[in-house]
């Protein structure tokens, strides 16, 4: 399917969805993210790569303020979504997270039925007025998560009973059900086997048509396969950010090159 993924990129610049300027993150006394500037475009898959502990996941969690749930975490600098500062005191993180959905490293379906898992987001955000509307939203989300055909006959079965790959696609369906504008994915395939990984990657490529997708991955091959833009993080710094093709074939920074060629990481 991806015979030569690097050649398929279109170079047209798109509208900027999220923009970070001078972003700093502290965990207690640890300076986890140092002065990161980045622009994330709409309808694009942006990959964050880098060695473990480089801060890529931390930065991702800043984008929908998931770090708020950690007491000792402190964020400085500005991050804007459509030009609005998401760390503005007037912003309710609950509303923000409805717009910026997230999929996690380990599939984490709620211990409820498949239907209830997907319907949970639309329910709390009041997106459906009737049961029929909710049914429609759930079906649409499951179709978009490429899971509908597999589960349409057992929507009442518990979500935890699905296989790992199905669980992760269920989590993706759950995230897209709230109609987010940005989808953050934190190593979504690290707990999956190669076949499930391929299915999820295929799905990510399709999601790009409607959403801005940010994916953190420890696999360079995966970044190369699914993303159009790539950011390389190292020791809390954003070392290099650019077209995926350029990063992988012609990195400007020697650290990026060392990582790509396997000397660090």
């Amino acid at each position: 399917m991806y015979d030569n993924p690097l050649m398929k990129r279109d170079a047209v610049t798109k509208e900027v969805k999220i923009s970070a300027r001078g972003c700093q993150v502290f965990y207690g006394d640890t300076h986890a993210i140092k002065d990161v500037d980045v622009d994330i475009e709409d309808k694009t898959v942006t990959a964050f790569i880098g060695p473990s502990g480089c801060g890529k996941s931390t930065f991702l969690r800043c984008l929908n303020r998931m770090n708020d749930t950690i007491d000792i975490c402190r964020v400085e600098g500005t991050i804007t979504l459509d030009g609005e500062d998401i760390y503005d005191p007037k912003v309710d993180p609950v509303q923000l997270r409805a717009k910026v959905g997230m999929v996690f490293q380990k599939p984490n379906p709620f211990p409820k039925s498949i239907y209830d898992n997907v319907a949970y987001g639309p329910k709390i955000h009041g997106m459906a007025r009737t049961r029929a509307e909710l049914d429609e939203i759930v079906e649409r989300a499951l179709r978009r998560g490429a899971l509908w055909d597999e589960v349409k006959d057992r929507l009442d079965a518990p979500g935890t009973g699905l296989s790992g790959g199905q669980q992760q696609r269920l989590c993706i369906a759950r995230a897209v059900a709230t109609e987010p504008e940005v989808l953050l994915m934190d190593e979504p395939c690290s707990a999956l086997d190669p076949i499930a990984t391929a299915q999820v990657e295929e799905l990510i490529d399709e999601l790009r048509e409607q959403y801005s997708v940010v994916i953190v991955t420890h696999s360079m091959q995966q970044a190369a396969r699914v993303s159009q833009k790539t950011a390389f993080f190292h020791l809390g710094n954003l070392v290099e950010f650019g077209e995926t093709g350029q990063i992988f074939t012609n990195p400007h920074d020697p650290r990026t090159e060392s990582y790509i060629t396997g000397r660090i990481g």
Partner: protein
């Protein structure tokens, strides 16, 4: 995957809502209000919990602290040889024949004399009624004093004797002039007399050490009731529990944790222990009654039976704590000992057990504290009996009747005179002080010796 592509037509995606993050929509506002309500409920629950602790402790303290102080009447008693030693031989045997009834008139006379000396008139009360201000326990106190040293007979000795329970209640707010008018045991005139005595300095309230040392007293003498026998009985039981539960518990835990093979028999023991931990304490009382008293023929209300019952009851607690503590010793210690050629038994007794000791002791103290406060099983093995004799020193004392602190509390709540409620609360304070001390020791042990591997 064709249906996926089909559903991704822009129309199916629905209109994307373009809302600003900076404005809260109504729904979010409602949800935040629900959030605040939920949070408030949680805060209320915590507040209720803390208030319950404060209320419980305050109620006990308010009711019980006054039992540590008691009203005394100071009188100079002439130990009249005519009454106490008619023969004049100072022979103890002969003097012992004089019962407390022989001492009561001495007190009555002493009080009347003291009133006369201070210019207090009887005002319509008979001398006998005036003497009712003094506790019925006072003659016995006097008799004990004389029996301890018969050569005192013929002298005049100053005594602080207990005032009657109702008089004491008057100064603690339990008895009022109105209630006294309806009371057969005290009259308003007697209360007024007490006030006069107080003004003359003959009557006063002071710290009451006999509350901690005296034995229980009968229904009509709440002022004399003390915790001596109960504290001693509880102490004996704790000794029995410590002597039996600690070695048995540690031995059982060592076997289960270090030696037991994984088989059905071991499983049976483990299930047994976890279920025993949840058996209601009163069932252990039934066990004690049926097995130790009826079957084995041990005496009723003896500390040994109480101790045995409480041992069986605390054993699961101690075993669970000890096993946790053994488990926390890292396997590397065992490997190290085995590696230099020690036997398994040596590695456990020389290395693992000493390292686990602080945890074991903490668990044991907590188990003991639990046993100290336990009441229900002791009721069934006869500890409710009215015991005035101190048990003798161990080991015989273990087999003699005694009371126990928590049972004494129960006993006092079953008596008619409201003065016993104060006594019961006072006894609870004593019990709680012991518990606080034991728990403090446990916490200090844990803090001091806790190891992080």
């Amino acid at each position: 995957m064709t249906d996926v592509s089909a559903s991704q037509a822009p129309s199916a995606a629905g209109p994307r809502r373009r809302t600003s993050l900076l404005e809260l929509d109504d729904r979010t506002r409602r949800r935040n209000a629900a959030e605040a309500r939920f949070r408030l409920m949680g805060l209320l629950a915590v507040t209720f919990g803390v208030l319950a602790v404060i209320g419980l402790v305050a109620s006990i303290l308010l009711n019980g602290l006054s039992s540590f102080r008691q009203t005394y009447i100071t009188v100079d008693v002439y130990l009249d040889p005519v009454r106490l030693d008619k023969a004049g031989t100072r022979d103890r045997e002969a003097i012992a024949k004089v019962t407390t009834f022989g001492y009561a008139p001495l007190l009555e006379k002493a009080l009347v004399d003291a009133m006369a000396a201070n210019g207090i008139a009887l005002e319509g009360l008979s001398a006998k009624q005036a003497a009712e201000l003094i506790s019925k326990e006072a003659p016995a106190q006097l008799r004990r004093y004389v029996m301890a040293d018969v050569s005192r007979i013929g002298e005049t000795v100053t005594f602080d004797v207990l005032a009657a329970g109702r008089i004491d209640g008057y100064y603690k707010g339990r008895v009022t002039m109105e209630s006294a008018a309806l009371d057969r045991n005290v009259s308003p005139e007697q209360l007024m007399l007490a006030d006069q005595l107080k003004q003359a300095g003959l009557l006063g309230t002071k710290f009451n050490p006999s509350f901690f040392s005296a034995p229980d007293a009968s229904d009509t003498r709440p002022e004399a009731a003390g915790l001596g026998v109960a504290i001693l009985g509880s102490a004996y039981m704790m000794l029995v529990v410590l002597a039996l539960a600690l070695p048995l518990g540690v031995a059982a835990s060592i076997y289960l944790e270090e030696f037991a093979p994984q088989n059905r028999f071991t499983d049976l023991i483990e299930v047994n222990i976890s279920n025993l931990a949840a058996v209601p304490s009163i069932v252990f009382g039934i066990l004690g009654l049926a097995v130790f008293i009826n079957f084995a023929g041990l005496p009723q209300s003896a500390p040994i039976v109480g101790g045995l019952v409480l041992t069986l009851m605390t054993l699961p607690t101690i075993i669970i704590a000890t096993r946790a503590s053994l488990k926390s010793v890292p396997p590397s210690i065992r490997d190290a000992a085995l590696g230099v050629g020690a036997s398994k038994m040596q590695s456990v007794f020389h290395h693992v057990l000493p390292l686990a000791m602080p945890g074991i002791l903490t668990g044991t103290i907590i188990g003991l504290a639990q046993a100290l406060g336990e009441t229900a099983p002791l009721l069934l093995i006869g500890m409710v009996a009215f015991v005035r004799e101190y048990p003798s020193a161990p080991p015989e004392g273990f087999f003699e009747p005694a009371a126990a602190l928590p049972v004494q509390v129960y006993n006092w709540t079953q008596r008619g005179d409201p003065a016993f409620v104060e006594r019961a609360s006072g006894a609870i304070i004593v019990l709680l002080v012991f518990l606080v001390i034991m728990n403090a020791i446990a916490i200090i042990l844990r803090r001091r010796f806790e190891r992080r591997w």
